[in-house]
Symmetry: C2
């Protein structure tokens, strides 16, 4: 698929291939093989002479419905999603789900439990407060957002409709790396997996609802994957807009996610990403690669004798997707700007953190190739050597930068 030339004359010439090293935290780098396939068939899907984004979603059994069904099936297969869950493609991103969750799940309850682990948890809590009382099952402010304690310590109320956790705080670098086990009789666990889904195997049965927006590991920004347990489909408020209704989306015919026109092209792109992950050996193989690459960057920072510094995040919940760090603790004027400027001069882009937060961030979503991580590693070593104070020179690692295999040698 996507090789050679199509009927619109879009062709490849591998000798011309050149990609920048793109570390955007989202919308993020997509796998090169996915981008090539999509470009090759952009104007002509499957030899039809029509682009995927120009095809009707109402053509029963047609290419759009088939692509949507295949993407849902591939996600089920990759995550071993139990039969008792629906896989939905919705719009509005994670922010849409911040409202959709209380609007769909409160039922006759007036309260929900939230873990406040950082910026994205707080966005979810702020939105939920429109619809219910938001109760804190854990308040990360006391730990300066460096922890995500074990579920056994969460303060969960039986009167809450659900317990909400953000599985990866991209700005604070705190990630849920093991699926929580809640006490028997607890409300259903709801998790925002936006920037971590597809980075490891997940025991979906531990959750009542998982949602994740595009723009990270799943594909482009503008669609949202919702994995919802069927017994939670009948609790929606009459005030829930139809476009945020899990039930309407789950029950649309002939396939789910067709109550209203879906973002067909973005779901097609997600399907290409999922197929790519299956070809690479599934999520156990992905998890090995994720661990290897995050270890590579964390170990360099830790070996830098405080030239590069991390937040003091608990190691068991240190994010493997987003590594926020400072240069010289951000205390040397212009040094972090120089880091960005010089990294771009080396063809390494989008290492800035969120505009609301200072510092830098390495994002290691699946679409980022190993070559880019290796290039970044080498750049960080060189930047340190160029800018470290003479007193700190001993901090520069003398070993050759560790070079890791490329993504196609994943397994």
């Amino acid at each position: 698929m996507g090789k050679g030339a199509n009927s619109m004359g879009v062709k490849f010439d591998d000798s011309l291939s050149k990609r920048a090293h793109n570390f955007s935290a989202g919308p993020a780098c997509l796998p090169e093989s996915v981008m090539r396939t999509a470009a090759a068939e952009f104007c002509d899907y499957g030899g039809s002479g029509i682009g995927m984004m120009e095809l009707s979603h109402r053509d029963a059994g047609g290419p759009v419905q088939n692509a949507m069904s295949q993407a849902a099936e591939d996600l089920r297969s990759l995550l071993s999603i139990p039969d008792a869950y629906h896989v939905l493609f919705m719009q509005g991103g994670a922010h849409g789900q911040f409202a959709a969750v209380p609007l769909n799940l409160l039922g006759d309850k007036k309260q929900a439990d939230y873990l406040n682990t950082g910026f994205w948890s707080q966005r979810a809590m702020k939105e939920a407060a429109r619809y219910c009382d938001v109760r804190l099952a854990y308040d990360g402010t006391v730990d300066n957002f460096t922890k995500l304690p074990s579920a056994s310590t969460w303060d969960i109320s039986p009167d809450s409709a659900y317990v909400h956790v953000c599985a990866n705080e991209t700005i604070h670098g705190v990630e849920l790396l093991e699926d929580p086990v809640l006490p028997a009789g607890s409300p259903p666990l709801v998790a925002d997996f936006t920037s971590t889904l597809l980075s490891r195997p997940v025991d979906v049965s531990k959750y009542g609802l998982i949602y994740a927006s595009g723009g990270k590991n799943l594909g482009p920004a503008g669609f949202t994957v919702v994995i919802v347990r069927d017994d939670l489909l009948d609790r929606a408020s009459p005030l829930c807009p139809s476009v945020l209704s899990y039930k309407l989306s789950a029950e649309s015919k002939p396939v789910p996610s067709l109550y209203n026109t879906p973002p067909t092209y973005l779901i097609y792109m997600c399907g290409l990403v999922l197929q790519d992950l299956k070809d690479l050996g599934g999520l156990r193989a992905v998890q090995k690669r994720v661990r290897r690459r995050s270890d590579q960057i964390y170990s360099l920072i830790e070996a830098s004798n405080s030239f590069y510094t991390l937040k003091n995040v608990d190691k068991p919940v240190r994010s493997m997707m987003n590594i926020p760090f400072r240069v010289k603790d951000g205390l040397v004027d212009g040094l972090e700007e120089a880091f960005c400027r010089e990294s771009e001069a080396s063809g390494i882009y989008q290492l800035f953190c969120h505009p609301l937060f200072p510092g830098l961030r390495v994002t290691l979503y699946n679409g980022v190739p190993d070559e880019a991580v290796n290039a970044l590693y080498r750049f960080m070593v060189k930047f340190m050597a160029d800018h470290v104070d003479s007193a700190d020179r001993h901090a520069v690692p003398h070993h050759t930068p560790q070079v890791i295999p490329n993504r196609h040698a994943l397994c």
Copy 2:
């Protein structure tokens, strides 16, 4: 832009160019020049070595924010949108707006006026009924959805928060072709322009709010354009989800539509479509082409001596975007299926109507090239000649099918 080869090696060879004739009612055919440009720079926007869909929307003054601002500016220019209006890019399509309109505009009112002109009006009314009393300013059921009476006859209540009209009923073939003038002191007029925006100049000052989803004239499905008068931004209900809030979208910094991650790639595609329309001479030129092409199909059907039949829609509101019709009034078993089968054999696709409604439909959105309309015209003449009863043979037009200039000769 988009010519030759880019650094990913995506190249064009015009000799290979071949496009099907695609009449999808949505997601719809996009201009070939737009599709070619997008395909050529798919993996490498502006020589960056990064695809537009892989770039961060948080890069202040970066390519994504620039593309969003340029698209908004081009829409302002094409529609001569007054300064007192915001142009927003949102998610959720028209169905999202069916909820967003009451959630944003009710203020302290408990009621809104709706014109029931068909399927899409009813979807909007059904959604609005979640949030307010829906009052009928006109009930099209009495006219079997064949009319859209003059605004002077609408039954408007001063107690209503707004008056909602669907500007194009794609299934019934009824279109608002002149901007209504409401009596002084009327509530603001809200219009769903989903399948007609960009088909003619619009006097935006006649409306408080105009919305239109992608998938028709604007670009791919998955984003929504909202043009809202600034004085309507402060009426939102606290129950309005943030992703549907006009105010949050209008006030995001450094550019609007950034409160949450927008569907960046789809907005970029919209920008290419808007630039294409500007290159073609703007909406007066587009309107001439729209009239010429719809006349071509309507006149053929009317000259067919009832081999092809139209609904009895009032001529002044006959849709120029969507022409629903039957073959032999749908009374001859298998004849409409044969029409679809034989049209596809001629490389003419997606002429089926909405699954919920029988019959056929010609969709003439801007992306459909004149060559496709001419091919369809010729096919319809031939199909009639092949299938008309001998008694009806005199109905076959004897003149050569009118061939109209291609889109590049628009002006």
